[in-house]
Amino acid sequence: MKRVVLIAGLAFLYLPLLIVAIYSFNASRLVTVWAGFSTRWYGELFADQQILRAAGLSVIVAALSATVATGLGTAAGIALARFGRFKGRLALTGLLAAPLTMPEIVTGVSLLLLFVAMEQAFGFPARGIVTLVIAHATLGLPLVAVIVQARAGAQDRSLEEAAADLGAKPATVFWRIVLPLLMPAVASGWLLAFVLSFDDLVIASFVTGPQATTLPMVVFSAIRLGVSPKINALATLMLAATAVALVLAALLARRDSARQAIAQSTVGVK
């Protein structure tokens, strides 16, 4: 019985995705009729300059925003795990939980209004890559913080005490012991923040400028018009890319505690 539920649940989650992947290799333009195996749509996909440009922009934005999010989120995560019951801790925890539960249209419109007001007041930032990076970093920061906090909290404090006992000053303890041990969590946080940014349509639609169109925005306007084999191919590639990123993140976070942290942080996302 439990097995049946398990298999049915997983099938429900994965079958639709599998069908998209299968039909991306369909030779026919008619998406429902199987006309033999072909990689023709992948060829067309790689000839589409608009899609390639958008994909390139999405990768750049995702990498930059994940990096900013990782820097700030690691600091927040370490602070929450290690600074004791400092003043403002509860407020910070609440503030970190909020961006992850907020509907995207709310975050999107409020960030846009901020960017417009800033541009009016200081002439900066122009809408485009910079605003996309800031928006996505805001989204990724709490995610990284949750993952790093979980790992730092689970880390054996006696390792740091031992380092101090062996003569290491606090700065040495941080750079030689604390940070290297947190690296797997930091790296998987970066990857997940990357995925979050790469996947975002709604917030990007609000904050971007006319010159910067991300991949999800291109995909969205294409699938509004209906299902097409080329989009099947693109969807399959995106599935494959996230699968690789996830496997990587899971391998980096081999320890159970970190794996659970990824799971738990997923709760907070979106």
Partner: protein, 290 residues
């Protein structure tokens, strides 16, 4: 506890970032919701006019509460989000239970499998269902070739499709907190209940269900909150007849370029979300304490 200068510096980064890019914008949303749309850059009237008088009006809010399009859209969002939450619970509970009762060595692997789809592109997941649900899609063609139906069923562009899409997209949010709770249930309690003569159903009602309630709450809120403001799913699966506030806000913003009205819509949505978000944070804290 007092923080050293170095620690204050560590905290300053995330604090300033979140205040500037997350909290401060809400004040702007409120401010602009009191303005009027006009042609120009930016497309709204300034708070202070040339003479230095404050130009604030509640006209946008008045419109929201008089034009029944908006009221119906808010109601539609609440109804669809609530329905989707209920179905997600119905599907997610047995699923989470099955994972939590799987052999310990495989649990975290199953959990990862259940959550992984969340990390794949949201658009791709909705797109997959478009391919299945549309008139010439796999479900209709299969049913037709089996002779079960003559004409294709209207599966897509219905409110049901929107509900279904939300359930599919947000199922991991339901499964995760439920699993976290159910996994900690002491199985010997159920064995004791069985030993004392309770049928499995009564044991479930007396032991498992009450124990899992915090997880149920957390899961429901995690599905309900983002679903309330959902735009992509009703747009792609719900079709023109499905009215949700996210869609209305999107078209006011991008099609009509009425930023002040969109801001007012957002403020009302935020007010609606305050209660569930506070409830969620309280539930999360209780879970952490337990």
């Amino acid at each position: 506890m007092k923080l050293s200068g170095r620690r204050k510096l560590v905290l300053a980064g995330p604090w300033l970032w979140l205040i500037l890019f997350f909290l401060a914008p809400f004040a702007l949303v409120v401010k602009i919701s009191l303005a009027q749309a006009e042609l120009g850059v930016p497309p709204y009237t300034p708070l202070l006019d040339a003479a230095g008088h404050i130009q604030a009006s509640l006209a946008n809010y008045a419109l929201l509460f008089t034009d029944d399009l908006y009221l119906r859209a808010y109601w539609g969002s609440v109804r669809i989000a609530a329905l989707a939450t209920a179905f997600a619970l119905l599907l997610g509970y047995p699923f989470a239970y099955a994972i939590a009762r799987a052999p310990a060595s495989r649990r975290s692997f199953y959990l990862l499998l259940a959550i992984a789809p969340f990390w794949t592109s949201f658009l791709v997941r909705i797109y997959a269902w478009m391919g299945l649900l549309r008139p010439g899609g796999l479900i209709n063609t299969t049913l037709q070739s089996l002779g079960l139906i003559d004409a294709p069923l209207k599966l897509m562009n219905t409110e049901a499709a929107a509900v279904f899409g939300i359930v599919y997209a947000y199922l991991p949010f339901m499964v995760l907190p439920l699993y976290a709770r159910l996994e900690k249930l002491d199985v010997s309690l159920l064995e004791a209940a069985a030993d004392l003569g309770a049928t499995p159903w009564r044991a479930f009602r007396a032991v498992t269900w009450p124990w899992s309630l915090p997880g149920v709450w957390a899961g429901c809120l995690l599905v309900f909150i983002p679903a309330l403001g959902e735009f992509v799913i009703p747009e792609l699966l719900g079709g023109p007849d499905t009215l949700m506030i996210g869609k209305v806000m999107w078209s006011e913003f991008f099609t009509n370029r009425d930023w002040p009205l969109s801001a007012a819509i957002t403020v009302v949505l935020l007010v609606m979300l305050v209660a569930p978000i506070v409830a969620f944070q309280a539930a999360a804290r209780r879970n952490e304490a337990a």
